[in-house]
Amino acid sequence: MRTPLFDQHLAIGGRMVEFAGWEMPIQYSGILHEHKAVREACGVFDISHMGEFFVSGIGATAWLDGLLTNNLNALPLGHAQYTILLNERGGVIDDLIAYRLEEEKYFLIVNASKIPEDSAWLSQHAVPGVIFEDRSNDFAALAIQGPQAATVFEKLFQRPMPAERNRVEEIESGRSFIATTGYTGEAGFEWVMPANEATTAWQAALHAGATPCGLGARDTLRLEMCYPLNGSDLSPDRTPLEAGLGFFVDLKKPAFTGRDALLAQKASIFPHKLCALRVLDKAPPVRPHYKVYVNGEPVTETTSGALSPSLGYGIAMAYLPPAYSDIGQMVDIEVRDRRFRAQVVKKPFYKKP
């Protein structure tokens, strides 16, 4: 599949790769340069491959609250919330952002790789009166991120960027949206628009000074923040408690899918915990599925890994057994038959100076 910006990517030297069934740019000028642009100035990402769902009708809030881990009752109008869709076992189907547009109207942005599964799950759990629509094909979206994103916003919209994070505005009702959300740890916004307006918006963003950025920089930026990537760090066999996402799980809600499994898990010892690992030795970049050892014994494998462009050392995440998941725990990560020392550290890896 291709986003409406496919030709735009090729035109500026985008190097295309397959991602979740989509042909997406991994980079344009270079991952390190793009990463730095987002940390120090402003970058723009094509995120049109992501899914856009709408939920509306009397009972929409109650219905979503029965399916998602976070508490929508606590979410004011015009605000966004990170939340998680679970299976009955408490495992992660998808992590997503819910935007409250009206009292009983929500806009959801879900992972590209999970659109069919999320859509099927929500449809299967449909109730009378609540309308669920998967409108992923109707929309394109840009993520504009970085300390200078506000300047880019002003050039694009001739007004200041909303100062508060996690806000959402409908620019034209049901057609385009601006939200101060993102996946990089930087200030910025996401701009969702009709698919046929994507090219104009993309060119306007570039003209306003944003550096085009691909999936490569998106991955290193999010990993420095320890933001999980579904399919790598999250899975149907791991709960959000194991993933360290308890903050986004409201167990005080009377009922939601997976709650019983989470309560049972909370009452016992977690099987594993998703930990941040800092590589201490000079080592090749750590990548996903590298073996992790404690005292010479293999205990797990990495779920994500990279040489952090901002920090200059190796970083990774891995589900470690409870005995080995405390801050300061030493582990070894195997790269091509050699082991390099790493240590469990506090999340996130990267903090704004």
Binding site: I26, G30, I31, L32, G216, P284, P285, L307, R336
Partner: protein
Amino acid sequence: MNIPENLRYATSHEWILVEGDTGTVGITDHAQAELTDIVFAEPPAIGKSLKAGDVAAVVESVKAASDIYAPVSGEVIERNEAIEADPSLLNTDPFGAGWIFKIRIADAAELASLKDAAAYREQIGA
């Protein structure tokens, strides 16, 4: 695309500069551009004996690891430590400061199987 005339080239995108029985080996400008930002490089140990086509070194970009092959057989006599400290030299100066290792060429006849600049240019369609 820079393809110096004075070098010989392997199909796997290494170059070799021959001076007497010594060959200096690196990767081509085309290879570094394909690999993108190189963030890790590990030249071979001095004294290592290589056959033509053996994995001699590893370089890694942000996204992938790539093997570097010996274009000819011989013994490693020098390794470029500067690229361990600053792997981006492979991107910025692949035919100069980004050289990877020097080899004592065991059999000069092997050089004949390598490409000249024109043939390499044709291979990469430059």
